[in-house]
């Protein structure tokens, strides 16, 4: 199978790709050790055949120095002190090993091996003793002490004299202390604070994804109290738009989509959005993230739901329903099992493995997906770990008793609707019966008429045959009807319509039963239909076993059952294994145990991974750039102690994100201007990794669309609800809605409410790097290309919003207002500031030029058209698209 091929080759592939990142050569005189310098090379190139497979190639094991010294089939592998006489050196130098010519060691790696042999092939410390079987996965002390696996440590907040000069220690924001220390070390220092207009715009986009409203702006500027800024942040945190903004961030990593993906049918997921709304509500309520995570991973187990009891629980109270809605998180991976996939077993497996990947990149920040087919080549993740994690979620998916998406949901219906549905259904049922009855009567009538057409002598015989049930007719009877009286053979209530036309009173006869049906249909259409929530539940009657799949091949399970658990490298075995079954729960309890383990405050990855992303969304760069990979190949954090301090503090103080926003946004670090230009600072830290100023950030795709709508005044701020459908427009682009704006103006809702169709990304959002969910997106890219400019210059969307924006300006400033007033009004609405004199001159000139042009063209309202043009330009400016 193609899929299989893909999987099998994945690890080979990883080898090639990552070989360039193997540790670099040490200085010539440096003392090399096996653990630090040589093992990573062997792990990347050689362990695959020489140690980590059950079959030991050439009987040679390269995993430990003592095993290397033992040699293999070809005898002595290395002669310590003499690289030239060492077989291993000869092999790697000549390129005989590794056998795949695409995977040659780099010259500097070969050199390193030579040097290590010459130095006597030393180790850093004593090696693991005892019998080590081929195929066992060894984790070294070095690997265990990788920064991301060490316990999160809250170190003391540094005392930086330059800070304490002006503030007492208690007044100093801990973030500033950590940042200041690093800046100081490099001879750098903070930039000055940004002005108030910049700050409110920055804060509003960060927290709500929208520009500050004119009222908010006014209120903040009018507030002269010393804590005006803090109050403004608090107001924004209370905005209902906050949850919408931060939900977008979470949905990226969770892989939210409104379609099933997997194949080109890309069936619409009509029921995913309740989960999206759950996230928005949770974030707006500042639900502690430990609880938030537990609910998403095991909300069903929290309320003791099973597959059988879920519907009843959903019908119960709202809080319970919410917990079940939360498990929609586990149902976000592409799921093609409801679309008659080519190979159903592979399609099923895909859902499970993609779900493991989503959990690992969103919460654990490790590329555990790499271990689906083989031990991880760079990180201490044995293949078993992938399957331990799989075993955690396996009871939900149950590949042996698979349920397609439509069988993994619960109906949402109010009591009133349910009662109404029951009442109407009863009515319909009654009418349906009447209809059937009437039809049978008419059929009988027709039968009698047909019978009269039959010669009397044969009537009895024909009647007897007809009245015998079709299946019970004797062969003679069947033949008789078929050959002699085909009319009777054909006649049944189902074929009545064929006979009706033969009779003059046919139409009247028809009406007798059709009228009843029409009435039934009318009522049927009124029966309230339920909405559904996607849920993850277990069937306690059937808990599937999990096995490691040899090379990821679902048809090659290995013999030993896998016990659910976390990553081996973290903690001891006891700490990260969960029982197969929790007797106190109706379900296996695996996910609840796993979720509690992740959020018990001791897991080294979860809080770091979350905090790293929170930080990124405020500063445009994270402490650890590879937000979904904290493994060996990741660059270490720029501020490890600050990351840890924040992660620890986050957990200690109840996992509340709004508190963290407040902490970050009230820091001096955050309040810096982004406009500082210092040659000196740039020469030391061109990338601003140490944050000597604020970063300039481009708005994300959704924020751009939302901001345009907000500024034009067209934004429909109604929260929640069904996704707004997307469609392919006549001009060949995919748009929100289908051209016209509906009565309820749903096409103008925020982008978070726009349908995410995996095969139909909205062109405007796609151009600005909205991610495609395959299966999720752990970090967005940000591109600057001409297609974006074309969309900003020529798209119908921009035009419409510019027209609306100009109208809004005119109605705010008054038709009589002069150019300057109009421009000021527009500028303030779009950019929350005042134009400078030079800007004003340019804008006025534009108004005049366009006015002249449109007057010459004799358009209806030249001045309004000129203003529309100016408004249009504002949407395209860097000032609008970027946050300072």
């Amino acid at each position: 199978m193609l899929n299989q091929l893909r999987r099998n080759s994945l690890l080979l592939f990883a080898l090639l790709v990552f070989c360039s990142r193997v540790p670099c050569a040490s200085a010539a005189d440096q003392r090399l050790t096996f653990e630090n310098d040589i093992r990573p090379i062997f792990k990347a190139y050689c362990f695959h055949c020489h140690g980590e497979e059950k079959e030991l190639s050439g009987d040679l094991d390269l995993r430990l120095q003592r095993l290397i010294l033992k040699g293999g089939e070809s005898g002595e592998t290395i002669v310590p002190g003499k690289h030239a006489e060492s077989l291993l050196f000869e092999y790697v130098e000549s390129g005989d090993m590794p056998p795949d010519e695409k995977q040659r060691l780099k010259p500097e790696e070969v050199e390193l091996i030579a040097k290590w042999i010459d130095q006597g092939a030393p180790t850093a410390g004593p090696e693991q003793t005892g019998d080590i079987k081929p195929g066992d996965f060894l984790i070294t002390r070095n690997e265990r002490s990788h920064w991301a696996f060490r316990p999160i440590k809250k170190s003391a907040v540094p005392v930086v004299v330059a800070l304490t000069k002006k503030q007492t220690e208690n007044e100093i924001n801990p973030i500033d202390a950590f940042i200041a220390r690093k800046l100081k070390e490099k001879g750098l220092w903070f930039s000055q604070s940004a002005n108030r207009l910049t700050l409110i715009r920055r804060a509003a986009y960060d927290l709500t994804g929208l520009p500050p409203s004119p009222e908010e702006l006014k209120q903040y500027l009018a507030d002269q109290s010393p804590d005006a800024y803090e109050k403004m942040i608090d107001r924004l945190l209370e905005s209902p738009h906050y949850g919408e903004r931060w939900t977008r961030h979470w949905l990226d990593v969770a892989g939210y989509a409104d379609s099933e993906g997997y194949n080109d049918k890309d069936i619409i997921r009509a029921d995913a959005w309740h989960y999206r709304d759950y996230v928005i509500r949770s974030l707006n309520a500042d639900k502690p993230w430990d609880q938030f995570i537990i609910e998403q991973l095991a909300g069903d187990e929290l309320v003791k739901a099973t597959h059988a009891s879920a519907q009843k629980l959903v019908d119960g109270d709202v809080a319970t329903r919410d917990k079940l809605t939360a498990t929609g998180f586990l149902r976000l991976a592409p799921d093609g099992t409801g679309s008659s996939p080519m190979d159903p077993a592979i399609a099923r497996n895909q859902v499970i493995t993609e779900s493991v990947k989503i959990i690992s990149s969103s919460l654990l920040g490790m590329t555990i997906g790499c271990a689906e087919c083989h031990h991880h080549r760079f990180d201490p993740i044995p293949q078993q770990d992938f399957y331990r994690l799989r075993a955690v979620i396996a009871p939900v998916f149950d590949h042996e008793k698979w349920r397609v998406p439509t069988n993994r949901r619960a109906a949402l219906m109010s009591e009133a609707d349910k009662a109404k549905a029951a009442e109407l259904s009863a009515k319909v049922k009654k009418l349906d019966e009447q209809h059937k009855q009437k039809k049978a009567e008419v059929t009988q009538l027709i039968f009698e008429r047909v019978l009269t057409e039959i010669p009397e002598a044969e009537r009895e015989q024909a009647k007897a045959a007809y009245e015998t049930e079709r299946k019970k007719r004797t062969a003679e009877q069947a033949q008789l009807l078929k050959k002699k009286f085909p009319m009777l053979d054909l006649l049944s209530p189902g074929t009545l319509h064929l006979f009706i036309a033969r009779y003059k009173d046919g139409n009247e006869l028809k009406k007798q039963f059709e009228a009843i049906k029409a009435e039934a249909d009318k009522i049927r259409a009124k029966i309230p239909q339920p909405e559904y929530i996607r849920i993850a539940t277990e069937d306690p009657q059937h808990i599937p076993d999990t096995f490691v799949f040899y090379r990821g091949d679902i048809s090659s399970p290995e013999p030993d059952k896998v016990v659910p658990g976390g990553l081996t490298v973290i903690g001891s075995e006891l700490q990260n294994r969960f029982p197969l079954n929790n007797p106190e729960l109706p379900t296996s309890g695996r996910r609840l145990a796993f979720a509690r383990y992740l959020t018990n405050g001791k897991h080294p990855l979860v809080a770091r991974v979350l905090m790293n992303r929170f930080w990124m969304h405020h500063f445009g760069q994270a402490f650890v750039d590879s937000t979904g990979d904290f493994g060996a190949r990741a660059n270490p954090p720029t501020h490890p102690e600050l990351l840890d301090w924040l992660a620890a503090d986050f957990m200690e103080q109840g996992w509340q994100l709004k508190r963290i926003h407040r902490l970050i946004m009230t820091s001096r670090t955050y309040r810096q201007t982004s406009t500082t230009h210092s040659e000196q600072a740039a020469s030391i830290d061109a990338d601003n990794r140490l944050l000597w100023r604020m970063n300039l950030r481009r708005l994300e795709a959704e924020a751009i669309r939302d901001a345009i709508l907000a500024v034009s005044g067209e934004l429909n701020r109604n929260p929640f609800g069904e996704p707004v459908p997307v469609s392919l427009s006549d001009s060949g682009i995919i748009t929100v809605g289908a051209g016209k704006v509906s009565k309820d103006r749903r096409e103008l809702k925020r982008s978070i409410y726009v349908q995410v169709r995996r095969t139909q990304p909205v062109t405007m959002l796609n151009a600005f790097d909205a991610p495609s969910m395959e299966p999720n997106c752990e970090r967005r890219v940000s591109s600057t290309v001409a297609t974006q400019s074309l969309a900003l210059l020529n798209s119908e969307f921009i035009r419409k919003q510019s027209v609306a924006f100009a109208k809004r300006v005119l109605s705010a400033a008054g038709k009589e207002a002069d150019d300057t007033t109009l421009i000021k009004t527009a500028w303030e609405m779009a950019l929350s500031s005042q134009p400078s004199d030079t800007e004003m001159l340019a804008l006025q000139k534009h108004m005049q030029l366009q006015l002249k042009e449109y007057q010459a063209r004799k358009v209806k309202d030249p001045r309004q058209e000129a203003l529309t043009s100016l408004c249009h330009v504002l949407f395209g400016t860097n000032q609008f698209l970027y946050v300072e």
Binding site: F13, N263, I733, S783, S789, L790, E839, G876
Partner: protein, 484 residues
């Protein structure tokens, strides 16, 4: 490769700038506007967030091809009736297929009765390539420029959508970047005034998901759809109210405001890049509008392609357009046509499709050759499958057709350093299964990448910290037999 697997701190362009002697704003323009001169892309430092652009990239080895036009014949042109004559079929006419292993897409209408091909094959050109000259009289004239691959095979695939995906993305499953996206990702574009990857659709979009999607790759590598009717390219032209002077005024104002803004943020190359990108957009409007304007072509050219004949016009226009794009530096042009899925009345339908496409397709090769562009342009013609040697019977009154065959089929390619007048590989005696020098979609892709100076095993992209590639290691090998 310049698209190194590096991730981290800050913009690599920023690194580049820091090391550069140029002024910031001018450099932003230079980097984005230099399209004639192949500005070597800066080596991306290990520590640098990968930024993506369409500037020309260095190749791994000297490239034989710079651009490609893929004439995708969706539905599956019948190889045994066009390109791969099997005399055995005549002997077996009306008899049972003696072999086994035929897999039908539609088993209900399947027969195992052999249906021979029309007896209108002839050896053509100096190369003596045997093709059906009645169906493809014009192709007969270019056989000496062409490599005919008779041994295509898509393992484990039977239907169209999966097959078209396999040919364009390497995989049967939905959700992977397209060949054109990969090539523009690997090589950038020779022009910054036109989209790097273009998909021309005639007469309508192929079934299934878009085959020009960039998927995991950044959206700048996505194919731009060029449609038959206006607007041919989305967002290309200003709306009526802005056409001409008004948009010029807008661009002037944008530039002025953005410059003032940039002065407050010196060193922010993203901002200067966007200023440049507006200028590019403006130039793209002019350049693309010019490229789309077929009236610039001579009458002789129109005639040569058959644009003067209603039967061939649609195809002719699309292929003239394809040539105009390639001439102007576009990297990859996909011309999509669908309508080769002939389950019944195959000979009549086949003639009709060939009548519409043969002349324009052959003219394209001749035209490129005359203009000296064929050496650097690969033209590829073919679909995602061929057809079975046995009759598909759709019932009484229906003329026979042929069902899908992905086990063996033919495509042809010309130019771009490929052999001329050459036949590669073979199917079995019945034309059912490729048996000699089999070329899978992975081999096909590896070979194309090779001609473009890219190594399949090096072309990859980091998605969610995991590599995605067109051809995965061990999956495809370069079909060296077709290289010059």
């Amino acid at each position: 490769m310049s698209q190194s697997f590096a991730k981290s701190s800050a913009s690599s362009r920023r690194h580049f700038l820091a090391q550069s002697a140029f002024g910031v704003s001018s450099l932003g323009l230079v980097t984005l506007l230099k399209e004639e001169q192949l500005l070597a892309a800066p080596e991306k430092p290990e520590l640098g967030e990968v930024t993506h652009d369409l500037l020309p990239k260095k190749t791994s080895h000297p490239a034989r091809a710079k651009s490609m036009i893929s004439i995708f014949c969706g539905g599956g042109p019948s190889h045994i009736d066009l390109f791969d004559r099997k005399p055995v079929l005549d002997e077996y006419a009306g008899k049972r297929f003696p072999g086994d292993g035929i897999k039908y897409d539609n088993a209900g209408q399947a027969t195992s009765i052999i249906m021979p091909s029309p007896n209108t094959f002839k050896k053509c050109g100096e190369s003596g390539m045997e093709i059906n000259v009645e169906m493809l009289p014009q192709f007969a004239e270019i056989v000496d420029d062409v490599t005919l691959v008779r041994s295509m095979q898509l393992p484990n695939i039977r239907n169209h959508v999966a097959g078209m995906r396999a040919m364009t993305t390497g995989r049967a499953r939905e959700g992977w970047p397209s060949l054109g996206s990969w090539i523009t990702y690997g090589l950038g574009s020779e022009t910054q005034n036109l989209p790097a990857f273009v998909a021309i659709t005639i007469p309508k979009n192929p079934v299934g998901s878009p085959y020009w999607d960039s998927r995991q790759l950044p959206s700048i590598y996505q194919g731009t759809v060029v449609r038959k009717t206006d607007p041919k390219i989305a967002n290309l032209n200003p709306i009526a109210q802005l056409r001409g002077k008004p948009q010029g005024n807008q661009l002037d104002l944008l530039k002025e405001l953005n410059q003032i803004h940039l002065e407050r943020h010196p060193g922010e190359d993203d901002l200067s890049a966007r200023i440049a990108s507006y200028e590019l957009a403006a130039r793209m409007q002019t350049a693309a509008t010019e490229a789309l304007d077929l009236s610039k072509e001579t009458e002789a050219t129109h005639k040569m392609y058959g644009a003067d004949d209603p039967v061939t016009k649609e195809f002719a226009d699309a292929l003239i357009l394809a040539r105009r794009f390639v001439e102007r530096g576009v990297r990859f042009v996909q011309v999509w046509n669908y309508g080769w899925d002939m389950h019944e009345n195959i000979f009549e339908y086949l003639k009709r499709r060939c009548d519409a496409s043969d002349k324009p397709s052959a003219a394209l090769v001749k035209d490129l050759k005359n203009r000296g562009l064929l050496d650097s342009t690969i033209v590829q013609w073919g679909g995602e499958m061929g057809r079975l040697p046995v009759i598909q019977d759709r019932g009484e009154g229906k003329k026979p057709g042929r069902d899908h065959n992905t086990e063996g089929f033919s495509i042809w390619m010309a130019g771009g350093g490929l052999k001329e007048g050459h036949i590669h590989g073979a199917t079995d005696d019945f034309g059912h299964r490729a048996v000699e020098d089999v070329v899978t979609q992975h081999d096909f892709h590896a070979t194309l990448l090779h001609q473009f100076g890219l190594k399949a095993e090096e072309l990859h992209y980091d998605h969610n910290a995991q590599p995605v590639a067109l051809v995965e290691p061990g999956q495809g090998k370069v079909a060296t037999g077709i290289l010059k």
